[in-house]
């Protein structure tokens, strides 16, 4: 898993629990043209964040889903990748 995927997973686990990795994998596969979660890069994050907000709202509180989405989106502008 790439550093960026691990960072996203680490954030997502706080909202989605141990199934966060599986959840992210499904978002990238279904909504980012079959992309593997481990191959996700900064340019995918805006779309990923958008879909995470929509899908996560189905399993967690909408406000929490938005919070998770924002945290993923903001990674686009961080320097660690």
């Amino acid at each position: 898993m790439s550093v960026l995927s691990e960072k996203i997973n680490a954030v997502a686990v706080n909202y989605l629990g141990p199934a966060a990795g599986v959840f992210m994998e499904r978002q990238t596969r279904f909504h980012l043209n079959g992309l593997k979660f481990e191959d996700v890069e900064k340019q995918h994050l805006t779309d990923l964040a958008k879909w995470v907000q929509v899908s996560a709202a189905l399993v967690i509180d909408k406000q929490k889903a938005k919070e998770l989405s924002d945290k993923i989106a903001v990674m686009t502008y961080t320097l660690f990748t």
Binding site: V13, L16, G17, A19, A20, V22, F23, V59, I60, D61
Partner: protein, 276 residues
């Protein structure tokens, strides 16, 4: 439905209330007892000062007169003049209800004077059931250790020696303070403490009640959600937002529910795919 005595809410509130009642009761009893003793001690000190002061106001001439009164002199002008003098001194200290003079000769105490308005001891009357502290007054000021009861009532008394006679007997002056006035003050303090403690218990009970009710309400929500999930209904959410340990539990629970929903969703899709 959970029985009332098995409810966490009942146990929590009862434990807190019991704790508060025990602490408050202990504090009340201790404070009341200490205050009561302190009030009695200060009254005794006050009584000693007053009787000491009164004894200095009895002149040598007065002492001679007190010693000369004979049985039957109660209505004599000299005796009545003496009463007037002591009544005037009493008026300066309304707590004191009665002054009297006695001759203590060994274990025998004989009244020489009594300014009581009703049921006064007569001159030469033997005091049958005296306050034990009275005997100490032959050598100095003394005051009752506690309230004592004699044929005239229940009092707190102070005594002061006036003169040692040639035969070794001692003329002593005494003053009474009615027990009810001190007991009334003690009761007032007790009632004040009682009301303050009662108010504190009530306020604490209300705060604890509200506190417990919100905790239990949120625990019940978590319990209800867990119950629904255990029955296969994953279309539930954890509607508990707190910043304490219950809030942390709710967040953990929420993550667990989310994971379960994701996994169950995947399982349903996999099952559906395999049937195609």
């Amino acid at each position: 439905m959970r029985k009332l005595y098995h409810s966490l809410e009942t146990k929590l509130i009862l434990s807190f209330v019991l704790l508060i009642v025990v602490i408050t009761l202990g504090t009340f009893l201790f404070t009341f007892s200490q205050t009561k003793n302190a009030l009695l001690d200060s009254t005794k000190d006050d009584m000693l000062q007053k009787i000491g002061l009164v004894s200095t106001q009895v002149s040598a001439e007065d002492i001679d007169k007190l010693l000369q009164f004979k049985p039957g002199d109660d209505q004599s002008p000299e005796y009545q003049a003496m009463i007037s003098k002591f009544v005037y001194m009493r008026s300066l200290s309304p707590d004191l209800i009665n002054f009297y003079a006695m001759v203590i000769d060994g274990n025998t105490i004989t009244f020489a004077f009594d300014d009581a308005e009703d049921d006064a001891a007569s001159i030469g009357q033997i005091y049958e059931n005296p306050d034990p502290e009275l005997f100490k007054s032959v050598s100095g000021l003394s005051v009752s250790k506690n309230f004592y009861t004699d044929e005239w009532g229940t009092f707190l008394s102070g005594y002061a020696p006036l003169k040692t006679l040639d035969n070794g007997a001692t003329l002593v002056i005494g003053a009474d303070m009615e027990a009810t006035s001190v007991i009334e003050r003690q009761n007032f303090i007790g009632e004040t403490i009682y009301f303050i403690m009662g108010g504190a218990i009530l306020i604490a009970a209300i705060i604890i009640g509200l506190f417990s009710v919100t905790i239990i309400r949120d625990i019940r929500k978590l319990s209800k959600t867990a119950n629904e999930i255990s029955k296969g209904n994953t279309n539930v959410s954890v509607d508990v937002v707190r910043k304490d340990e219950i809030g942390e539990l709710a967040e953990s629970f929420s993550r667990m529910v989310a994971s379960l929903k994701i996994m169950l969703g995947m399982h349903a899709e996999d099952t559906s795919d395999s049937r195609k």
